[in-house]
């Protein structure tokens, strides 16, 4: 269908964009458009104003900032997927990004856009939570930083204020960690029924540290802290990992829909966590 009429702005700077967002109460930010455009065309969203931030070059790119990587919010998935810094220090992000949609979507869709949209079934939120990323948000009073655990507030809902803009995401370096993203869906281009993002640091044959994030196991991405704790000090063997992964669904309340009920999702979380952690350990 054809979107309802809207006013369109394409600011060249972050400040200009923030000014527009302050000026217009019913404005939507257009990043790569992979979620917003379908919503507009279906008239599920009909904002009066669109602020298109694709011309703000400062928001694109990946840079090394000492003990962290900084990924610009407008960096396309295709760039993240093949970026050498991401590959070296945050491989989990590259692996998850490679599963987003299809090549066309990955060339248009953006890292920050996907996170700010906060779809429970999306790929990157669980990764951001697992890796303890922090979100740099620009607003009228300057910039503030929100940890991933606090950024996601609910289904399509985040800590971003209406006149704020996600500008970049800081990710601690996980150099030398093994990583695996286990996505379970019905078709290659479908949304996750459940997904598990895992990163593991080995010390000899045993697991020294682990990070596990769960996607679509609730309204927000979930950090499987019980699994992480149970893994530390364990050998990276099938039995040990199975035992730890059995706790993956603790405290979760996933949805029931045509792809599965809550029990099935909880079961999947344990199976996929086991597979993700073992696979991550295998690449460490």
């Amino acid at each position: 269908m054809i979107p309802a009429a809207f006013e369109y702005f394409a600011p060249a700077t972050v400040d200009e964009a923030l000014g527009l967002l302050r000026e217009h109460s019913d404005a939507k930010v257009l990043a790569g458009g992979q979620s917003l455009m379908p919503a507009l065309r279906l008239r599920l969203a009909a904002p009066e104003v669109i602020v298109d931030i694709q011309k703000i070059d400062d928001l694109r790119g990946v840079r090394d900032d000492g003990d962290a990587l900084v990924i610009g919010a407008m960096t396309p998935h295709s760039t993240v997927e093949s970026d050498p810094l991401v590959a070296e220090h945050a491989r989990l992000i590259a692996l998850a990004t490679a599963t987003v949609g299809d090549p066309q979507i990955r060339h248009r869709g953006t890292f920050g856009g996907s996170l700010a949209h906060a779809d429970p079934a999306a790929d990157l939120p669980a990764v951001a939570v697992a890796l303890e990323a922090s979100f740099v948000i620009a607003g009228a009073d300057g910039r503030r930083t929100v940890p991933a655990a606090e950024f996601f507030e609910g289904v399509f809902s985040t800590a971003l204020g209406e006149d704020e803009l996600l500008v970049e995401v800081r990710v601690p370096k996980y150099t030398g960690w093994g990583a695996h993203y286990e996505k379970f869906n019905r078709v290659a281009q479908g949304w996750s029924i459940v997904s598990v993002a895992a990163a593991v640091r080995l010390d000899g044959d045993s697991i020294a540290e682990a990070r596990v994030g769960l996607g679509n196991m609730g309204p927000t991405p979930i950090r499987a802290t019980a699994v992480e704790a149970a893994l530390v000090g364990q050998p990276a063997t099938a039995d040990a990992v199975r035992e730890a992964a059995a706790r993956a669904a603790d405290g979760t309340s996933p949805v029931t829909d045509i792809n599965g009920d809550a029990d099935y999702r909880r079961h999947l979380a344990t199976v996929l966590t086991r597979r993700a952690v073992l696979a991550a350990a295998g690449t460490a």
Binding site: A4, R186, V187, I258, N259, Y264, H267, L272
Partner: protein
């Protein structure tokens, strides 16, 4: 005939690249929505969000005042003008059907039914104004669940008083084609085997790539209607009948059409309303549906409950088959809605020698989108049922799935074979197709691997699925259609015209929407007339050019339409003979036609078709003894159906921890008779397999408790993509059909019909040791996992 051998039939059997592909693939062509006319106006439809409701009022004032709006039209506005949409098939003389209006007046019976339309200067303005049409509804309880609807628990159309449209049955004892099935079942209960099983054919959405689109130009003497349809000839007749416009004042064009799969075998409300809008405003109008509208309001397919009882001797020899099915019509009867189960009625016995057969059909209305033809139309349902049952029988007897089939199938030396459902299978060789498939598949090795995985308790189990199918193709002998209650015929028409420069125009009454008729018909004519493939042009889809025709569906185009093309070409050759004789100053009896040339036997004298065409064009030397024309028309009504068959083998890995099924290999050996273009056939098979596999694993139209389509976008309606499917190995055997001059059978539906049971059989085969005997379609991971949990409990 020595000359014939000098120039072999080079085209038939050649994998010619398709002429039409460059423009179809790039989209640089005349899709209906690409057509722009001076003063073109755009239509947006207002559709009911409720499955069942009374319309209490419609306020169009705000919409009428909206920018660019030319007209806002409600059902009440056109109550005297819109007529009623036709159903073309009365399966019984007193079939019940609600009046099917293009635009509802006071009652809506499915979510998506049109209640008003806006005509505006631009599509955007039409959409904006459509949002402003304010409709008040009084919601009524919807009839949604098919079995409950069959019991009339809630009535979909209160005026009709019942949901049951028709009850139809076939009984081999009554028809004299076999024995009494109840006796067979009773006998089997005493020492034999009786298998009782129920299958659900879920509701599917044809989901053609190009959404439906219509452009109507009322400003010419003949009103011109472009429509993305499979059936331009039907559309022309029905516009005339429904709207009272003389047929001679209507020209319908199906330009390039982007897929149909039966979904565009329809005469639609949108076509009627676009004509009305154009007629009322006096200007060209266009309506193009959105994808959401397409999924919701274009007709759906399948949707049946099948209750089956198979009787067999203890050794697995089948003795009887009883089928009771309930078919969901949805809210209305479309063109052939009521006959879809009927088209499967003669196929439940499959390739097997059942001595007794009974089938009962109950057609039922619900408050869902109306159903109608979808690739295979009745035959996939039948094939699924019998092929699933044969696997269950093999398990009960304790023999291999191929072995049980071989014990029961018709042997190749037994053709022609009259079946228990009253059809005459003219030809077939199930042994040859099965032997070839078995070898290509590596059947024994895969069985060995399966045993190994079972013994080791591998979490990923391997299943092998078999489907040995046949289908009735080449719709259809007109007298058969008439005997079954269809209002139309099944003939096809073609014309072949020699042009002055030696090129050839072929006009076909078939209406391709992706099948490649332009290429295949060119091959037929090039061989027959002895002209170059490149010199043949195929025209179709415009009722002013292809004046007669019955269009494309039911794997009929080659077996019926292609044979009409050959018949026309033969007439051209016949017409050329006296002309050649006159110009060559020879006796017609001394002429031989071969390699595109009439030659005088025993001499070097002769004339090519191109030379004859030019001579005819000039007319200078013709003495008038023969008609100076090398054009010919031919109408052909098939003698009988054709019966393609094949053996499909599928290996599926089932992850018992997650329920995920992954097709590891898929081998099919199809016998579609003589093949004109192997590449086109392979393409049809691949696409058909994808669609049949999609029914097994992915697709289902799901409604919520209020009758709203939950799977109303491709986000929810799961279609597989290339990454989800294996690399198919599609091979052939070739047993020529005896029911047409070339020996062709039809391939449009084969892959779809055969593959669904092959996949589900494989999944059940993988899980049978875990106590699983069935998984409802689509076999989603969740359903497979649930079946494993239930199996381990039982």
């Amino acid at each position: 005939m020595t000359a014939t051998e000098e120039r072999p039939a080079a085209e038939i059997g050649a994998s010619r690249r398709r002429k039409e592909d460059a423009r179809l693939i790039t989209g640089r062509t005349r899709w209906t929505d690409n057509i722009v006319l001076p003063g073109l106006q755009h239509i947006a439809m207002v559709r009911s969000p409720f499955a069942h409701a009374r319309i209490t009022s419609i306020d169009t004032e705000a919409a009428k005042a909206s920018t660019g709006v030319v007209a806002v039209i409600t059902g009440a506005d056109i109550a005297d003008e819109q007529g009623a949409l036709p159903n073309a098939w009365a399966v019984i003389p007193d079939q019940k059907a609600p009046v099917h209006l293009s635009m509802a007046v006071d009652h809506v019976a499915f979510a998506g039914e049109i209640v008003a339309m806006v005509v505006a200067r631009t599509a955007a303005e039409a959409n904006d104004a459509a949002d402003l049409v304010d409709v008040d509804y009084e919601e009524l309880e919807p009839a949604l669940e098919l079995k409950a609807a069959a019991r009339d628990e809630v009535i979909a159309h209160p005026d009709l008083g019942t949901n049951v449209s028709a009850v139809w049955s076939y009984d081999s004892a009554e028809s004299g084609t076999g024995g009494d099935v109840e006796a067979a079942i009773a006998a089997a209960r005493d020492g034999g085997i009786v298998i009782e099983q129920e299958f659900r054919q879920q509701r599917l959405i044809p989901a053609f790539m190009e959404p439906r689109s219509i452009v109507v130009d009322p400003t010419t003497e003949q009103m011109t209607v472009w429509s993305s349809t499979q059936v331009p000839h039907f559309v022309k007749i029905f516009i005339a009948l429904v709207l009272g416009i003389p047929e001679s004042k209507i020209r319908v064009i199906a330009p390039d059409v982007g897929g149909g799969f039966g979904g565009k075998l329809q005469f639609t409300p949108e076509e009627v309303l676009t004509v009305i809008a154009a007629r009322r405003t006096g200007k060209p109008c266009k309506y193009t549906e959105s994808r959401s509208e397409s999924l919701m309001a274009a007709h759906h397919g399948r949707d049946q409950w099948q209750q089956l009882t198979l009787a067999a001797n203890a050794d697995g020899t089948v003795t009887g088959l009883k089928v009771e099915l309930i078919a969901d019509m949805g809210a209305y009867l479309g063109l052939v809605t009521s006959a879809i189960p009927l088209l499967g009625a003669f196929m439940y016995n499959g390739i097997y020698k059942f001595p007794a057969y009974h089938l009962g059909i109950t057609n039922v209305f619900t408050n869902k989108t109306w159903t109608d033809a979808y690739r295979g139309a009745g035959r996939p349902e039948a094939t699924y049922a019998i092929e699933r049952l044969m696997d269950e029988l093999a398990a009960r007897v304790g023999v291999d799935a191929l072995e049980i089939r071989e014990r029961n199938w018709i042997k190749h030396e037994e053709f022609p074979f009259s079946t228990v459902s009253g059809l005459r299978y003219d030809s077939g060789n199930y042994e040859a197709a099965t032997a070839k498939a078995r070898e290509l598949f590596g059947y024994d090795d895969l069985r060995a691997e399966q045993r190994k995985r079972r013994e080791s308790g591998d979490p990923v189990q391997l299943g092998i699925g078999v489907s040995t199918f046949t289908e009735m193709c080449g719709l259809a002998p007109s007298r058969w259609l008439g005997s079954m209650g269809y209002v139309g015929g099944g003939w096809e028409h073609a014309a072949v015209r020699m042009l002055p420069t030696g090129k050839v125009e072929v006009v076909t009454g078939t209406s391709p929407h992706g099948q490649g008729h332009e290429t295949a018909w060119s091959q037929l004519v090039a061989d027959r007339l002895g002209v170059a493939f490149e010199d043949v042009e195929v025209l179709h889809g415009d009722t002013q050019v292809a004046v007669r025709g019955l269009d494309t569906y039911g794997s009929r185009s080659l077996a019926v339409g292609g044979m009409a093309v050959l018949a026309a070409a033969d007439k051209v050759i016949e017409k050329a003979k006296p002309i050649a004789a006159q110009l060559l100053e020879a006796n017609a009896d001394d002429l031989d036609f071969s390699g595109g040339r009439y030659g005088v036997r025993g001499t070097d004298a002769g004339m090519t078709m191109a030379e004859l065409a030019f001579a005819v064009f000039q007319g200078h030397k013709l003495d008038g003894s023969a008609e100076g024309c090398l054009d010919a028309d031919a109408t052909l009504d098939p003698d009988d159906f054709s019966f393609p068959h094949g053996t499909h083998l599928c290996a599926v890995e089932v992850d018992t921890e997650t329920g995920a099924s992954k097709i590891r290999s898929y081998v099919c050996v199809d016998d579609v008779g003589v093949v004109v273009n192997p590449m086109i056939v392979e393409g049809q098979v691949h696409g058909g397999l994808a669609q049949g596999i999609a029914q097994a694993l992915y697709e289902e139209a799901v409604h919520d408790d209020s009758g709203t389509l939950v799977t109303g976008s491709f986000d929810q309606y799961t279609l597989p993509g290339a990454p989800d499917l294996p690399s198919f190995e599609a091979a052939r055997t070739e047993t020529p059909a005896t029911t047409n001059q070339l020996g062709v059978k039809g391939v449009g539906e084969a892959g779809t019909i055969a593959s669904t049971p092959a996949v589900v059989n494989a999944i059940v085969d993988a899980l049978r040791p875990l106590g699983v005997t069935d998984v409802p379609m689509p076999c989603t991971p969740y359903r497979v996992w649930t079946a494993i949990q239930e199996g381990s409990r039982s």
